[in-house]
């Protein structure tokens, strides 16, 4: 069965690219537009990996990340944070709150795809 990815992003332009990339890499993709929607989607069915933007409406990415990590059932979900905040402190905060990786925008689509594949054990 294809591994599933939850893209949490409120910007349609990047959602388009992320969706395309992940589908092309052979993953099943769902999209959430804000923090509340994201947690609802996880609740409905836990994804294998989340591409989680920090600056999203309602509940921010740090909040979502911490909430996911607080639930023992969701420990296995990989979380890659995507953000336009490029400070070292922001990265440290993301990792401290439980993200597996932290990617600063803009990023190379190939690198991101590689990272996702690596985490999900799709070493092609």
């Amino acid at each position: 069965m294809a591994k599933s990815i939850l893209v949490v992003e409120d910007e349609p332009n990047i959602v388009l690219s992320l969706q395309f990339l992940m589908k092309k890499a052979g993953f099943e993709v769902r999209v959430a537009r804000d923090g509340v929607e994201a947690l609802a989607a996880v609740e409905e069915r836990a994804p294998d990996l989340m591409l989680l933007d920090v600056m999203i409406p309602k509940r921010d990415g740090y909040d979502v990340c911490q909430t996911v990590r607080a639930n023992p059932d969701w420990q296995g979900i990989y979380i890659i944070m995507l953000t336009a905040k490029g400070r070292e402190v922001d990265r440290e905060k993301g990792i401290a709150l439980g993200a597996n990786d932290y990617v600063t925008k803009p990023f190379s689509t190939r690198d991101l795809t590689e990272k996702v594949k690596q985490l999900l054990g799709h070493n092609a």
Binding site: L16, R59, C65, R87, E88
Partner: protein, 704 residues
């Protein structure tokens, strides 16, 4: 009675007495004459009258002469002296030439001249001094007026002594400040008191001499209405005795700069964060289009649309950024290097004042860079909110040195804080006093963020802060040779029965890590302790706030050679208690704890020699970090405290003070426990066995 009146009375009496004598004589003679001697009687009366007249005349002439030659000149001298004293210092006494006062008028005139000369000299000196003072004051005023910064000089009771025009402008005062008015009429009280407290503490502890900023500290001040933020610096004024007598504030309007800073921050954010997203979208779409030529036309259209819209967006954004850029003035947020111990002290004190919240300072204090007052406010508010949320009533405060930041950790037993709650709290504003800065803005100014973690029932808030700007805090320590290693098998001999302590894990034992400073290396040769300090370790935490630190009067001279090591002189120990007072206090501080010291035998020997005299016994087990180091790192012979601290990555502050060394040894010891555990040494007994084996080996080596 004046001299002239006196003469008149005297001579008048004399004349009257002479007349009386003549009259009585004449009358007696006349009465004794037989009857019929009328002619003789008349003659007697006539001669008597003549004699009387002659006597009176002689007396009158004598009086006249004395009055002229003595009494009148004497009165003139008195009047003259009165004139000199009360009217004209230049007056000279004038006396008729024919007087019988001898050298008196001349002598008095000489005296007057000398007096007047002396007076002139003093007046000239005063005038000169006043002139130069006036000149200096004018120069100072000119310099102050020319300064682009506001300057205010205040007494310790915050009365204004001196200020410049620029200060008026910056404080937005229309008229004059008025000397001797209270500073707090014009500036916000709290940050000033906070900074003054920091500086006076620094002086009281004698830290200003070595402090990189000396008597100065920067802070964020504000006008009393809180509308204008002032980038302020305070310098303490010390009187010749070395105590603070006032302070100088220099400040600059920061509101403009902050506005500029806000603009710059926005610009930077837009230039970095704001551009990242559109660039990401653009490049992703382009990469995908380029990498997938077989994509169907519909999808291709979508990606082309993305490229188009993002490119337009970027072009617009660029225009706006250039517009901002033209308006920009660069500014800065005033910050200074802060010692975490002092920062935590302020936080603890405020918490205790406000509510019954206990704080425990743990770990080794660290230097960091920031604005003390706003950080205290931030920590204070967040801790109160954590208390409200989780019910925690006791917090550990610790500064942890990392590669990129110094972390301030606030730890408590219980649950952590959800990111959502924390982010809500950060919207809180400081008092109006600081232009209503929000906590979030305080973080932004420090270019940092804060988060909460919990692990194993202990939750913490972690606040990364910049490293200190000057690295001198740690490195200004003179490189001094370590004390010679000291082994005395008897001293370290294990106490017979450790009881249940023997098998307790090292981590669960309470320790007191201590250090002494001494007049020399030979306690039996009469060397004495001049300082004794200790710090407690409980449950793997160094309780920095609960330390023992005393200077001891050694009741003997302190060799200069030893002062080089500890900086303690005869002046330092003056009025300090002798060891007979301090050692029992230290014994009480140690309580049931296990003692730890670096090169423990050395310090222990001094303590034990005083046991009987002081009526105390140090029979508890002792661990030596030097021996533990030798055990753990047997590949090297270098185990001085400096070297060992460096090996364990312990930042060294205030080395070669008893407390500084005790803190370093405590930091080293805590790290050692980790390594010891990894080597299979988990209990006190095991640690003592390991080190005493080493002592035996080294003692044998020494014998050979």
């Amino acid at each position: 009675m004046g001299p002239r009146l006196f003469l008149i009375v005297c001579f008048g009496g004399l004349a009257a007495a002479a007349l009386l004598a003549v009259v009585v004589g004449v009358w007696l003679i006349a009465a004794a004459l037989p009857d019929g001697g009328e002619a003789v009687r008349s003659m007697v009366i006539v001669y008597g009258g003549g004699i009387a007249c002659l006597l009176v005349a002689v007396i009158a002439v004598l009086w006249g002469y004395l009055d002229h030659a003595l009494a009148a000149p004497l009165a003139a001298v008195v009047r003259g002296i009165q004139t000199v004293v009360y009217a004209n210092a230049e007056h000279r006494i004038e006396v008729d030439e024919n007087h019988e006062l001898g050298g008196l008028p001349t002598a008095v005139n000489d005296l007057v001249r000398k007096l007047s000369q002396a007076r002139n000299t003093v007046e000239e000196a005063v005038a000169t001094a006043t002139r130069s003072l006036e000149q200096q004051k004018n120069q100072l005023a000119v310099i102050l007026q020319d300064l682009s910064e506001g300057v205010i000089v205040c007494t310790l009771s915050h009365n204004i002594l001196l200020y410049n025009r620029r200060a008026l402008q910056l404080l937005h005062i229309g008229g004059d400040i008025g000397l001797d008015r209270s500073l707090f009429t014009f500036m916000t009280r709290q940050p000033i008191l906070h900074c003054l407290g920091r500086l006076t503490n620094r002086v009281a502890d004698g830290r200003h001499a070595d402090h990189p900023e000396g008597l100065m500290a920067a802070f964020v001040g504000a006008t009393s209405d809180g509308r204008h933020i002032l980038d302020t610096r305070m310098s303490l004024i010390l009187d010749p005795g070395g105590t603070a007598s006032g302070y100088v504030l220099t400040f600059d309007d920061d509101t403009d700069e902050l506005a500029a800073l806000g603009l710059r921050d926005r610009l930077l954010r837009e230039a970095t964060e704001g551009l990242r997203a559109p660039v990401a979208n653009l490049s992703a779409a382009a990469e995908i289009l380029g990498g997938n030529p077989t994509m169907d036309v519909d999808q291709q259209g979508q990606f082309k649309q993305v490229i188009l819209s993002e490119s337009r967006f970027l072009a617009n954004r660029l225009e706006r950024l250039s517009a901002y850029y033209r308006d920009i003035i660069t500014g800065h947020w005033p910050m200074s290097d802060i010692y975490s111990g002092n920062l935590f002290n302020h936080v603890s004190r405020r918490l205790k004042e406000q509510r019954d919240v206990a704080t425990v300072m743990t770990g080794l204090p660290q230097w960091l860079h920031g604005d003390s007052y706003t950080l205290v406010e931030l920590l204070n508010r967040l801790i109160l909110k954590v208390g409200d949320l989780t019910g925690a009533a006791s917090f550990d405060l610790e500064a942890v040195r990392g590669d990129r930041h110094v972390y301030i950790d606030v730890a408590w037993r219980g649950d952590g804080v959800p990111a959502s709650a924390l982010s809500l709290w950060l919207a809180d504003r400081l008092d109006e006093t600081l232009a209503g800065l929000s906590l979030r803005e305080v973080l932004e100014r420090h270019r940092t963020d804060i988060w909460s973690l919990d692990r194993d029932g202990v939750a913490r808030l972690r606040l990364p802060l910049p490293h200190p700007k000057r690295s001198t805090h740690a490195t200004d320590v003179q490189q001094l040779p370590p004390r010679p290693e000291f082994y005395d098998f008897e001293l370290l001999a294990r106490p017979g029965d450790l009881g249940e302590l023997a098998h307790r894990p090292l981590r669960a034992i309470t320790y007191v890590v201590f250090d002494t400073e001494t007049t020399g290396l030979h306690p039996e040769g009469g060397d004495e302790i001049v300082a004794l300090a200790g710090v407690r370790i409980v449950n793997g935490r160094i309780l920095t706030g609960e330390s023992f630190d005393r200077v001891v009067d050694p009741k003997r001279t302190i060799p200069r050679e030893s002062t080089r090591f500890h900086g303690i002189t005869a002046g330092t120990v003056k009025d300090k208690p002798p060891i007979q007072v301090v050692l029992p206090q230290f014994r009480a501080f140690v309580g049931d704890a296990v003692l730890v010291a670096h090169n423990a035998d050395f310090d222990l020997k001094f303590l034990r020699l005083k046991e009987k005299e002081c009526g105390v016994v140090f029979a508890m087990p002792v661990l030596d970090t030097l021996l533990l180091s030798a055990f753990l790192h047997d590949y090297t012979g270098r185990h001085g405290l400096d070297v060992v601290a460096e090996r364990f990555g312990i930042e060294v502050h205030g080395r070669h003070t008893a407390l500084g060394d005790a803190l370093v040894a405590a930091g080293v010891f805590l790290r050692m426990i980790d390594v010891l555990e990894a080597r299979g040494i988990r209990t006190l007994d095991e640690a003592l066995v390991a080190t005493s084996a080493l002592v035996a080996a080294r003692a044998r080596l020494a014998d050979v």
